[in-house]
C-alpha cells in the first residue's frame, strides 16, 4: 500500500517538476532537492488532491517538506 501511494506521488512529481525518477526518494526535500518553488508546491498540492481525492488544508501544506511527508499525510487522510 505504502509503495503504491509513493509510486503515484512520484509519478506526479516527475511529471510536474521534470526530474529523474531516481531523485524522488522519501527523504528528498521537495524544494531543496527537487527544485520546486513556492508556486510549484501549491500546484503539486492541487495535483495530489485531484489524484487521491483528499483535501490538504493550507496549514497542513505548509508543514510538508519531504516526499515522505506527502506520502504520510495522504495515507493518514485517505
Amino acid at each position: 500500500m505504502a509503495e503504491t501511494t509513493f509510486e503515484r506521488v512520484k509519478g506526479i512529481i516527475v511529471e510536474h517538476l521534470d526530474v529523474d525518477k531516481e531523485a524522488v526518494t522519501l527523504d528528498a526535500s521537495v524544494k531543496d532537492d527537487l527544485g520546486a518553488d513556492s508556486l510549484d508546491v501549491v500546484d503539486l498540492i492541487l495535483q495530489f488532491e485531484d489524484e487521491f481525492g483528499v483535501e490538504i488544508a493550507d496549514e497542513e501544506a505548509e508543514k510538508i517538506s519531504t516526499v515522505g511527508d506527502i506520502v504520510n499525510y495522504i495515507e493518514n487522510n485517505l
Binding site: H16, D18, D43
Partner: protein
C-alpha cells in the same frame, strides 16, 4: 547629447506560414495563405470558423518541459522567436553587458488561453482549484519577463499594451531607448495567441471578423472592395536591435537600420478609425521626419491593412495625407492577406517582413486583390511579389483605442544620409 544610430541585426518569427525566418519569407513572397478552418477549439456554435493558426509548433524545441508548462502559448511563441533572433544576430550572451541588454515585447491581449481555462476551473470547481500559475501565465507583460529570465537580459524591460499597435510601439520604444543611450542591445517585438472561444465570441459580436468560412484562403483580402473583416492570426515576431557602435564592435551582420518612429492617437472612437485619416498620417510623417527624410524618400509602406472596410479606406486616406502626390508613386502591401491579423504580434512580424524587404529588395504582395475599390486607389502590389529598389520603408500598426504607430526602416549605409 549624442544620439546613437540603431540597426537591426537579428530576426525571429513564429507565424501561420512558417516557424522560422526563411520559411516565413519564402511563403510570404510566394503569396501563400496561412488561413484555414480552426482546429484550436470546437467552432460549432460560432459564426466564424476560420483563422490563421500556427501549426507544427512544439514549445519543447525551445523550452524545457517544466518551464513550458508555466507559459501561456503567447509566451512560448515569444521565447521561441527571441531565441531565433539571438541566434540570427550571432549574439554571444556571455560577451555582452547584461545590464545594457533589454527586452520590449508586447501583446494586445496576453494570456487569454490561460484566463479561459482557469476561469472555467473557478466556475466549475471553485476558487481553491485555480492554478497558482494563473496570474503569472495570464498577465500581458510576461513574455517580456520570461524572455529576460531565459536570456539574462537585465537592462530596460517593458511591455506596450496598445491592442494591434503593441508590437510596433515596442519596437519604436526600444529604438528610442537605444538611440538615447539607455541600452546597447534590445530584443523587441510582439506576440499573440488568441485563437480562443472567448476572443472569437467577442470579435464576432463586434462584426470585426470575416465570415468567409467556406473560402478560408480567400477571406483576408485587404484593399479589395469585397473585404468583409479581418482573419485572426497568431504568432510572434522579435528583432534584435542594437546601437550601430555595438553592432560594428562585435562585427555583426547588419540587416537594416531603424531611423524613425511616430506615435499618435486618433482621440476619436473606441474602435472606428478617424474618417479624416489624420492620426496615422501624423504618425507616418513623424517617422520619416525623425529619420531626417522627406515624404518622397519613402519607397514602400507595410500597411496595417486588416481587410476591414474602414481600416483600408482610412489608411489609404492617411497615406495620401502624409505623402501627397507621392502616395501614388510608392508601393503599399499588407502581409495580413496571408498571415491574418496577429493583433499585438502584427507589428513584430511585419517589422521582420519589412526588414527582409529591404534586405532582399523584394516586396511581398497583397494577395486576394481582385476587385478594385474606388476608395483604395494606390499601388497595393496585387497578388505577385515584386522586385523593386526599396531604400526606405515604413511599417504601420493601428490599434483599437485609436493608437497609431509607425516605424521607419532603411537600407543600412555606412554614412548616414
Amino acid at each position: 547629447m549624442t544620439k546613437n544610430r540603431v540597426v537591426i541585426t537579428g530576426l525571429g518569427v513564429i507565424t501561420p506560414i512558417g516557424n522560422n525566418v526563411s520559411t516565413f519569407w519564402n511563403h510570404l513572397i510566394s503569396g501563400k495563405s496561412g488561413v484555414g478552418q480552426i482546429t484550436a477549439f470546437d467552432t460549432t456554435d460560432f459564426p466564424v470558423r476560420i483563422a490563421a493558426e500556427v501549426t507544427d509548433f512544439d514549445p519543447l524545441n525551445y523550452i524545457e518541459k517544466k518551464e513550458a508548462r508555466k507559459m501561456d502559448r503567447n509566451v512560448q511563441f515569444a521565447v521561441a522567436a527571441a531565441q531565433q533572433a539571438i541566434k540570427d544576430a550571432g549574439l554571444e550572451l556571455n560577451q555582452i553587458d547584461p545590464e545594457r541588454f533589454g527586452v520590449y515585447i508586447g501583446s494586445g491581449i496576453g494570456g487569454l488561453n490561460t484566463y479561459e481555462e482557469q476561469f472555467k476551473v473557478l466556475l466549475n470547481r471553485g476558487p481553491r482549484r485555480v492554478s497558482p500559475f494563473t496570474i503569472p501565465m495570464m498577465i500581458t507583460n510576461m513574455a517580456a519577463g520570461q524572455v529576460s529570465i531565459r536570456f539574462g537580459a537585465k537592462g530596460p524591460n517593458s511591455t506596450s499594451v496598445t491592442a494591434c499597435a503593441s508590437g510596433t510601439h515596442c519596437i519604436g520604444d526600444a529604438f528610442r531607448l537605444l538611440k538615447y543611450g539607455d541600452a546597447d542591445v534590445m530584443l523587441a517585438g510582439g506576440t499573440e495567441a488568441t485563437i480562443t472561444p472567448f476572443a472569437f465570441a467577442g470579435f464576432s459580436s463586434m462584426g470585426a471578423l470575416s465570415t468567409q468560412n467556406d473560402n478560408p484562403t480567400k477571406a483576408s483580402r485587404p484593399f479589395d472592395r469585397e473585404r468583409d473583416g479581418f482573419v485572426m492570426g497568431e504568432g510572434a515576431g522579435v528583432l534584435v536591435l542594437e546601437t550601430l557602435d555595438h553592432a560594428l564592435k562585435r562585427g555583426a551582420n547588419i540587416i537594416a537600420e531603424i531611423a524613425g518612429y511616430g506615435m499618435t492617437a486618433d482621440a476619436y472612437h473606441l474602435t472606428s478609425p478617424d474618417p479624416t485619416g489624420d492620426g496615422p498620417a501624423r504618425s507616418m510623417k513623424k517617422a520619416y521626419e525623425e529619420a531626417g527624410l522627406n515624404a518622397t524618400d519613402v519607397d514602400y509602406i507595410n500597411a496595417h491593412g486588416t481587410s476591414t472596410q474602414l481600416n483600408e479606406k482610412y489608411e489609404t486616406l492617411a497615406i495620401k495625407r502624409a505623402f501627397g502626390e507621392h502616395a501614388y508613386q510608392l508601393a503599399v502591401s499588407s502581409n495580413k492577406s496571408m498571415i491574418g491579423h496577429l493583433l499585438g504580434a502584427a507589428g513584430g512580424v511585419e517589422a521582420v517582413a519589412t526588414a527582409l524587404t529591404l534586405k532582399h529588395q523584394i516586396i511581398p504582395p497583397t494577395i486576394n486583390y481582385e476587385n478594385p475599390d474606388p476608395d483604395c486607389d494606390l499601388d497595393y502590389v496585387p497578388n505577385e511579389a515584386r522586385k523593386a529598389c526599396v531604400r526606405t520603408a515604413i511599417s504601420n500598426s493601428l490599434g483599437f483605442g485609436g493608437h497609431n504607430a509607425s516605424i521607419l526602416l532603411k537600407a543600412y549605409e555606412e554614412v548616414s544620409q
